[in-house]
């Protein structure tokens, strides 16, 4: 029975997806009801997942139903930690997007079904302990996302974004399969954990094939997180997608991908990972440069945030390279940064989604002129998100960057830290430009902004507070989770990878 409790979060989400799929045929189910149902299922998953997370300092790793599932699903602190992030991201996305979905007539209850399918896929991805299962999970998430992007199919850019993502995503997926086949060819297995063991046993000739296989998987991974040279799609797809979906993809999906890849690369490719680190240096530099240059010229806010998400990918990769030298602290810095970026991006995208939900206008910088005059609290929140994204102290974004750069230096990649710093400084320009535009113009341009009421603004405000708390919080306020707790959790989850 205990095994069932472990898979309960997955079960709830999957159940939710299927039930929503069924009820979507009924006319009487409105968007609101659908979203509430979604939230109910997600909350149940969240609660059961908290049980799994077991917030003590105990580390565990468990294969549920080992005789049936055959070690293909793993439940450990690590996966639970990521699941928490993912479910939380999903909940936040729904809460923030609810206003948007209601205002945009194209959305139907099927959307929530797909949404839960994608959450299911992502959770499965972080729980996956086998490459083919992981690929299936990835495909569940991706296919749901393809459709979610193109859900408003009367809008050209949505459907185009969906198409582009589908073609290129499938192309990248093929490389994952190719890689899997090579890994299988080299080691005769596709189970994570065993691959590593086998790679120690097999003779050196097959090592090359393993490396190639790993590289192919890495290519898919780089594609999904939009790293150079596989970054082109990101800006089109993200900006073509509905804003809540963009937020969801940029923050939550990225976390899921990292959740899986970290497991794969820490557990299995540990011995050969440094092989890629040298090449990754160039990838990182180019990713940072590309994202920064692209972001700096954007006039549309959404595109800017999207382009800057490429930059954040670069930061995450910096931490990725330091894992081989640092292990625990490198991995935990990725995890922490994912949380930091996740909060900031969800907040920023969500708020912009909320602002633009009434009129379907293109949101540009100039639209925000004097925004602080008409909506001071929203402007303040948006500023907090921008500051966090830019990594200004007193926000969680700073702490995240701090860990990443410290890790990079500790791992001996000072050059990456310097490049990262330069990218940060460029990012200050485009993030601060928004703050400047919101506050420094005396007359407001934007009309038709929804007032500050409903659930979305409250959630966004909480995110803003969380960002600040993440930046300054400490043990001064007793028994309240501060920055340290997040770090400790990240470290524990890292340790759990080696328990099983």
């Amino acid at each position: 029975m205990i095994d069932f409790i472990y898979v309960l979060p997955l079960f709830f989400v999957g159940l939710g997806a299927i039930s929503l799929m069924i009820v979507s045929t009924f006319k009487s189910v409105t968007i609101r009801k659908g979203s509430i149902t979604t939230l109910v299922f997600l909350s149940m998953a969240f609660i059961s997942n908290l049980y799994n997370l077991n917030t003590g300092d105990e580390v565990y790793s468990h294969y549920p139903f080992i005789d049936i599932f055959n070690k293909m699903i793993i439940v450990d602190t690590y996966a639970s930690y990521f699941s928490t992030i993912l479910i939380l991201g999903a909940i936040l996305t729904i809460l923030i997007g609810i206003h948007y979905f209601e205002k945009h007539k194209e959305f139907t209850v099927e959307f929530f079904s797909l949404f839960l399918f994608s959450v299911f896929g992502m959770m499965l991805l972080v729980h996956a302990n086998e490459l083919i299962s992981a690929f299936v999970a990835l495909e569940i998430a991706s296919i749901s996302l393809y459709v979610m992007i193109g859900f408003e199919k009367v809008i050209s850019k949505r459907i185009e974004a969906s198409y582009r993502y589908l073609v290129l995503g499938s192309l990248a997926g093929v490389f994952f399969l190719l890689g899997t086949s090579f890994v299988y060819g080299a080691t005769g297995t596709t189970t994570i954990g065993t691959i590593g063991d086998m790679s120690l046993n097999t003779f050196a000739t097959n090592m090359n094939l393993l490396i190639i296989g790993g590289t192919m998987i890495l290519i898919t991974f780089l594609f999904k997180i939009a790293a150079f040279p596989f970054q082109n799609w990101a800006i089109d797809v993200y900006s073509g997608a509905p804003l809540p979906v963009t937020a969801y993809m940029a923050a939550t999906f990225k976390a899921a991908i990292f959740g899986f890849v970290l497991r794969l690369f820490i557990v299995d490719f540990d011995l050969i990972r440094d092989f890629w680190d040298d090449a990754l240096v160039y990838v990182i530099i180019l990713t940072l440069a590309y994202g920064s240059f692209l972001a700096i010229i954007q006039k549309s806010l959404k595109r800017m945030l999207v382009a800057s998400s490429i930059v954040h990918t670069g930061y995450l990769l910096i931490a990725f390279t330091s894992i081989s030298a640092l292990g625990e602290s490198g991995a935990s810095s990725i995890i922490f940064y994912l949380v930091a970026y996740f909060l900031s991006a969800v907040g920023a995208f969500g708020l912009i989604a909320y602002i633009s939900s009434d009129d379907h206008l293109r949101i540009t910088y100039d639209d925000f002129r004097g925004f602080a005059k008409i909506r001071p609290y929203m402007a303040a929140m948006l500023s907090i998100f921008m500051l966090s994204l830019a990594g200004i102290p007193s926000t969680i974004g700073f702490i995240g960057k701090f860990y990443i750069f410290t890790g990079a230096i500790e791992a001996g990649n000072t050059i990456l830290a310097v490049v990262g710093i330069i990218a940060t400084f460029i990012s200050v320009y485009y993030y601060f430009k928004l703050i400047a535009i919101m506050y420094f113009y005396r007359s407001a341009e934007m009309t038709n902004v929804p007032p500050l009421k409903g659930v979305a603004p409250v959630v966004i405000a909480f995110i803003a507070l969380a960002i600040i708390w993440g930046g300054v919080g400490n043990t001064l306020v007793a028994y309240f989770p501060g920055v340290d707790l997040l770090i400790d959790m990240a470290k524990l989850s890292y340790e759990s990878l080696f328990v099983g």
Binding site: P393, T406, E410, V428, T475, D488
Partner: protein
């Protein structure tokens, strides 16, 4: 969790700012609260001043763990050098508030309060990350205040100054992180506390040089030293009075403070080694900016150049590696803050009344506003370095210091007496004194509040010029400590 007095000094303004932000205070209420806060802080700072012991070591230490996994602590403390800057801040801010009394919005006052928090926090931090934290945090309200309440092409210039300064500080951040990692590698635990960081000795020379310049770029931009000064003109010209006041009189000084507080103890050898470069950069800046100021038409830009010129001189002082130069620099920090701050307040009023910044469009102010002119004259003479004002004492000491460093440097730096005088008096003639037929009828003389605000500055300028020693004795042990213990120099 009992907060010490330093924490209260740091966080009281922030607390007031957020309280007024949340509660339905109007602009007037916020202003009164801000003023009251500044007075309370002045009282607190005075008590710190009187309880300060005559040693060169850190006092009023506070130490709490913040992020334990990386050894980041909330660590505060002051020594003599911080003390005088603290006194300066505590004195200047109420004065400035009296000047900014009318016609400001709530956002303005809240920004001012937050700036005060940032400034004092920067001043007290004894942990590198905490320092960086406040250093950046200080920038945001300044960013807001310039951008929201400035004039001219303020959006552009605000972004420019922000990006520019953040660029500098990010290089510092990298250096800080590198130091932290080096410390970890050497001692096996994390700490960013200054006391620990200074004990690092596993750095190679190349590393040290890089890190040194990482720090120096941040401070050089903030100060600003040649050639990192180009943000200065537009920013000063477009800033509102309060912003430019704080920028010129306090924040620029914090750049110098940063050099003394961090660069000197962490890299004592390089500090000594590169001292000639910085002494000469300072002197070069002194002359370069001085000459640049002469033909500047915009009065605020002229003061910007003049400010940069003096800050170059301050840098010369702190790098002169002797007591005279360093004490002089400390003194010039105060003198220049008061005089430049006062001048910017005065010019701000002029701009507020007349809406003019160009010197040729001014003139005949003296007739309209004699008290204004008197204060203007006092501040100006302080800038010029007239004996009897603290400007002279500091300049004299720095020249002494520079001479002690190298006679040539001393002699060249003595040209300061000529440079400031030439453009300042010329400006005074054209803008204030002579009647050039421009319409300045809207100019009003100072009201009682403004006089009250300006009096402490004017009084201190003169008092410190006539009886400097009374203001010196608290800082000298600190300077001696720097030289003997940290740099290990006996001149």
């Amino acid at each position: 969790m009992d907060f010490g007095i330093l924490s209260i000094i740091i966080f009281l303004p922030m607390f007031v700012a957020f309280t007024t932000l949340i509660l339905p205070f109007g602009a007037k209420g916020t202003r009164n609260a801000a003023f009251l806060t500044s007075i309370v802080i002045f009282a607190l700072v005075s008590s710190v001043y009187y309880n300060f012991e005559l040693t060169g070591f850190l006092q009023f230490r506070e130490h709490y763990t913040w992020i334990s996994s990386y050894g980041i602590n909330y660590s505060l403390g002051i020594d003599g050098f911080s003390l005088i800057i603290l006194m300066l801040i505590a004195t200047l801010i109420p004065s400035a508030y009296l000047w900014l009394w009318e016609g400001r919005t709530k956002g303005y006052w809240i920004s001012m309060l937050l700036i005060q928090t940032g400034i004092t926090g920067t001043l007290f931090s004894q942990d590198l990350i905490l320092f960086y934290f406040f250093w950046e945090a200080m920038l945001l309200p300044v960013f807001m205040i310039i951008g929201m309440f400035g004039t001219g092409n303020r959006v552009f210039s605000t972004i420019k100054v922000t990006v520019f300064t953040i660029m500098g500080s990010l290089f510092m951040l990298i250096s800080i992180l590198y130091l932290g990692v080096s410390f970890f590698n050497e001692y096996g635990f994390w700490s960013f506390s200054l006391n620990d960081i200074v004990q690092i000795n596993n750095l190679t020379r190349t590393e040290e040089i890089w890190l040194f310049f990482g720090f120096m770029i941040a401070f050089a931009i903030k100060i600003p030293l040649f050639p990192f000064h180009t943000w200065l003109l537009q920013t000063y010209s477009n800033s509102p009075t309060g912003g430019v006041f704080l920028l010129s009189s306090i924040m620029a000084k914090l750049g110098v403070y940063g050099i003394v507080r961090f660069v000197m103890p962490i890299f004592p050898e390089l500090y000594k080694e590169f001292a000639p470069i910085f002494v000469w950069i300072g002197i070069f800046g002194l002359i370069y900016f001085g000459i640049a100021a002469m033909m500047q038409v915009n009065i605020k830009k002229m003061f910007a150049y003049s400010s940069a010129s003096h800050l170059g001189f301050i840098v010369t002082g702190i790098f002169s590696l002797n007591v005279f130069g360093m004490t002089g620099a400390a003194f010039l920090i105060i003198a220049h803050a008061m005089a430049t701050g006062g001048l910017f307040l005065l010019v701000g009023k002029m701009e507020y009344d007349l809406g003019i910044k160009a010197i040729p469009a001014l003139g005949g102010i003296a007739k309209k506003a004699p008290i204004f002119t008197v204060f203007f004259g006092i501040m100006l003479l302080c800038i010029v370095g007239l004996p009897g004002t603290n400007g002279f004492v500091s300049e004299f000491l720095i020249i002494l210091g520079a001479f002690g460093f190298s006679p040539t440097a001393g002699i060249v730096s003595a040209f300061t007496v000529l440079i400031a005088a030439s453009f300042m008096l010329w400006m005074f003639q054209r803008a204030i004194l002579s009647d050039s037929g421009n319409d300045v009828s809207k100019m009003t003389d100072l009201n009682k509040k403004e006089i009250l605000g300006m009096l402490p500055l004017a009084f201190l300028i003169i008092a410190m010029g006539i009886y400097p020693d009374w203001f010196f004795y608290k800082i000298e042990p600190t300077i001696q400590h720097y030289l003997l213990d940290i740099l290990q120099i006996r001149n």
